[in-house]
Subunit: 336 residues, 2 copies
Amino acid sequence: MGKQHVTIADVAEKANVSKMTVSRVINNKGEISAATRQRILQVMDELGYRPNPIARSLATNTTLRIGILVPTLSNPYFGAIIEGAERVFWENNYHILLGHTDSEPSREQAVMEIFEDHRVDGVIVLSARSSSEAMTQYVRNQRAAVAINTVVKAGAARVYTDELKTMALVVNHLMKTGRRHLGYIGLDINTYASINRYRGFESALKNAGLRFDPNQQSTAWHDNAPSNPIYELLKANPRIDGLVCYNSGIAARALQVCARLGRCVPDDIAIMGYDDIFLAEMTSPTLTTIDLVIPKEEVGAMAARLLLERIENGDHAQEQADVILEHKLIIRDSAP
Amino acid sequence: MGKQHVTIADVAEKANVSKMTVSRVINNKGEISAATRQRILQVMDELGYRPNPIARSLATNTTLRIGILVPTLSNPYFGAIIEGAERVFWENNYHILLGHTDSEPSREQAVMEIFEDHRVDGVIVLSARSSSEAMTQYVRNQRAAVAINTVVKAGAARVYTDELKTMALVVNHLMKTGRRHLGYIGLDINTYASINRYRGFESALKNAGLRFDPNQQSTAWHDNAPSNPIYELLKANPRIDGLVCYNSGIAARALQVCARLGRCVPDDIAIMGYDDIFLAEMTSPTLTTIDLVIPKEEVGAMAARLLLERIENGDHAQEQADVILEHKLIIRDSAP
DNA sequence: CTGAAAGCGCTTACAG
DNA sequence: CTGAAAGCGCTTACAG
């Protein structure tokens, strides 16, 4: 049925003091005699008093609540980041209001407005897809913000992956092992990562002196596509001897396609995944991938710390605190 | 910087009416003349008025907020359930306060108390590990509750998997394909699923007329264990010709162990996973598993609907609405 | 059809 | 060291 809650007035009455005095001991501020302090603490204990955060929020205009905007929870990538952030928030008595957009960019605005309405003290935005202008506006209406892999011009600390540098790492590895005809399988969504990973691949090829041939690339991967773009790509471009995949799930599918086409991995073709998930160790051959240098949980924790700092300093005027995340190679059998 | 918010008083003043009247149009209740209604709506629009849910919560003692207790977000199993629930809540204007326990049973109480403090209208509890008595108590202090794969005596609608029936399915499948010496690899945690899956395996063996030999079972799997319990088990029991694993991740590891031991899957030994994740299609051989008959998102959605019903009917006196989740076989190559 | 008053459970100046 | 009053932004009876 839910409990009957005891209020500050109940405590005040039983302890024979004013609500003001009770409030003082709750918040540990202002002078107060040791005796009454003790008495009040005891009464609070007897009555099982717990302050009502809603009333406090209304009075102080502060909520100890953080909004996290996330496209999906089915992807453990986001789960791990949120988990890392939550640990920091938990220690600091902040709680999380979930802002799930169900991977619909059109819901991002609604979610950000709900954060405003609920007066969250700050927001963390994960891989949002709104335009830079729109996101800058949404963020300006928040009290503090951290954007992870999300384009935003100002008003937020930004944490993002350096896809150009990462793709250079990938392409160099493939070059060093003798591959010269590189293909790419991307993802058909407009996220920061998707766009920049592809761009990074393109410029890494150019920097390496290789020709970038759009016909050897496909950004059309879709889990429920009627045709299989990996199959089409490899079939149409038999010269491809190194295939870079947007993520390790796609790379695993690429292994299956190679088996179907009778192309031997890694002898005929090297396959590279992205993100070192459990799956990467379980395929055969196992997948060579790249992974964040720091764990995803630590990315979340870092974002949380940045946000708490911004909440305390209380305005957006402070310098942009950009944090750039780097990747490292995890070499296994698909691209030794 | 955050926005300056306009209040009901601002609207009232500009529209030349009382706050009461504004409140009536916001909530669409009570009689009101079409003219003033129009005027107020227009003023609200001009001023960009949005009601403050905190103030409303304080006044109505209702929050449109749901607490979800979850052990971890790194596991997409929970992510999918929460995602399904969120879609239902979103449609009904409820929002989610995240109650992450970081897989620490000791945090469950704290999280449930935070839910109380924040006056959530209801809670969903996922795979909690507190004792049945403790959980019953925590749940009694909430306004409404749904428990998924969590032991609780009363006060909550319960949604849970029928592990006995499921294990009968698994064991029968292995029997039909000629396996007679079955082993089990469990997980070393005290969850509803972990305990009952093992029990289910035991009773399925007995019902099938097979001997249950504790030495052929291991519940000690741990991702960071110094030794590999799968290896130990198979090494010590070379007669095992069918291995049932607590989940598909463990089953994938078992495939690796078999390769190491030179045991051919499925000829020498059949391997069964549990939960049909993407990984199960990507191993070689691919994994035979079982999976929920309805998608995990639907489990979440169902739990959300149950909870909303209970919130509306507003008390725990109503009958226990137990929902039992069934599984089906997904036959692949590791146990054809 | 509309409004003045009180209240939800806290905190914030301001007095003493 | 302690308290009376006002206020945070809403809603809920109660009047008229």
